[in-house]
């Protein structure tokens, strides 16, 4: 039965027996993930507080850093890979990302459009909304 190849459960590290035996390589993976996440988090806080960067680009920069850190968490903590035994996990994740993007971007676009197109000028100020 050694030739039977199943998918990998989400969150499970590689099923290679030599890697499974020693936990030291597993610790290394988590430690690399932690180090990268700490660096990215520190960068996010620095970007939000520095006056060296162009203000208009800060939101975009923070979004990119958050996406990068999400990638770090997925790869190093949740062990999502591009391997063939992970296809179902990745497909489910891709569907989740699609729905999340549709909900968030769609809501923001529609509400921005409504605010811009349907309100008289004196009510444009969102601060008047309750």
């Amino acid at each position: 039965m050694t030739d039977t190849h199943y998918d990998r459960a989400p969150g499970d590290a590689t099923t290679l027996p030599d890697v499974e035996q020693g936990t030291s390589s597993g610790v290394l993976v988590y430690t690399i993930g932690l180090a990268l996440a700490v660096v990215l988090t520190a960068m996010s806080f620095w970007v939000a507080n520095t006056s060296l960067l162009w203000v208009g680009g800060i939101s975009l920069g923070l979004t990119v850093l958050a996406i990068a850190q999400m990638g770090v968490h997925l790869v190093f903590f949740l062990h999502v890979t591009t391997g063939p035994d992970n296809t179902n996990n990745v497909m489910a994740l891709a569907f989740g990302v699609l729905i999340v993007t549709l909900v968030v971007v769609g809501s923001l676009l529609i509400m921005a459009d409504l605010n811009e197109g349907m309100m008289p000028a004196e009510l444009m100020n969102l601060h008047l909304q309750h």
């Binding site: 199943y6 610790v27 939000a48 939101s59 850190q69 996990n89």
Partner: protein, 211 residues
């Protein structure tokens, strides 16, 4: 449930069992995949709350704005607590994988302590905001804020209870297959909470302070 579809490409067919002969996937894979689907649906729910917050972030109704309320130092410590607890949770799943009881208890205790520290800081922040009149009823911005951040805090609370229950199960039942599957699901849950927090501190706290 056929979850072993895509492994044929890189393995020579003659060394490979036909899938119908391989039988259903082990329960650990089925359970883990099912919980993965649940987590993704949970993240979709958070996306709706995020969308509501992003739309209402400037609707302060003359009340306090995010830049006036948020304390970045507090948020940085909360982020550090949750990130470190995610790391120790990973170490715990390694200890579970090699069935080492003492290491499992130790890693779980540190994870629990860091999660509890996160929750304490968050509740203190909420209490401080409410004491200054920034209650959920004050403005649409604050309603959205308390819903989004409070929902994440509620998830962390549930995770802490779950972790305590799992440690009791390890103590009573030992590392049997059912307990190991539940621990796999717990670590998935805890890591997913950290991913949500990454978006939370970016969108709510950091972007709230700059605008």
């Amino acid at each position: 449930m056929n979850v072993n579809v895509a492994v044929m490409d890189d393995i020579r067919p003659e060394t490979q069992l036909v899938f119908s002969e391989a039988g259903p996937a082990p329960k650990r894979i089925v359970v883990g995949y099912g919980f993965w689907i649940f987590l993704l649906s949970d993240i979709v729910m958070f996306a709706a709350l995020f969308a509501a917050y992003a739309v209402l972030a400037h609707a302060t109704a003359g009340g306090p704005s995010g830049a006036q309320l948020f304390n970045q130092f507090n948020v940085a410590i909360e982020t550090g607590c949750l990130l470190a607890s995610s790391y120790t949770c990973g170490l715990m799943s390694l200890a579970v994988g090699s069935q080492r009881r003492l290491r499992t208890y130790l890693a779980a205790a540190i994870t629990f302590a860091l999660g509890a520290a996160f929750l304490t800081l968050e509740l203190r922040e909420f209490a401080g905001m409410i004491a200054t009149g920034a209650t959920p009823q004050r403005s649409a911005f604050l309603s959205a804020f308390f819903t989004l951040v409070g929902c994440h805090g509620l998830h962390v609370t549930v995770g802490l209870i779950w972790l305590a229950v799992m440690m009791a199960q390890v103590a009573v039942k030992g590392f049997r297959a059912t307990v190991e599957r539940r621990l796999l699901c717990f670590s998935l849950f805890w890591h997913a909470l950290d991913i949500i927090w990454v978006w939370l501190f970016t969108v709510v706290y950091l972007m709230g302070v700059i605008s």
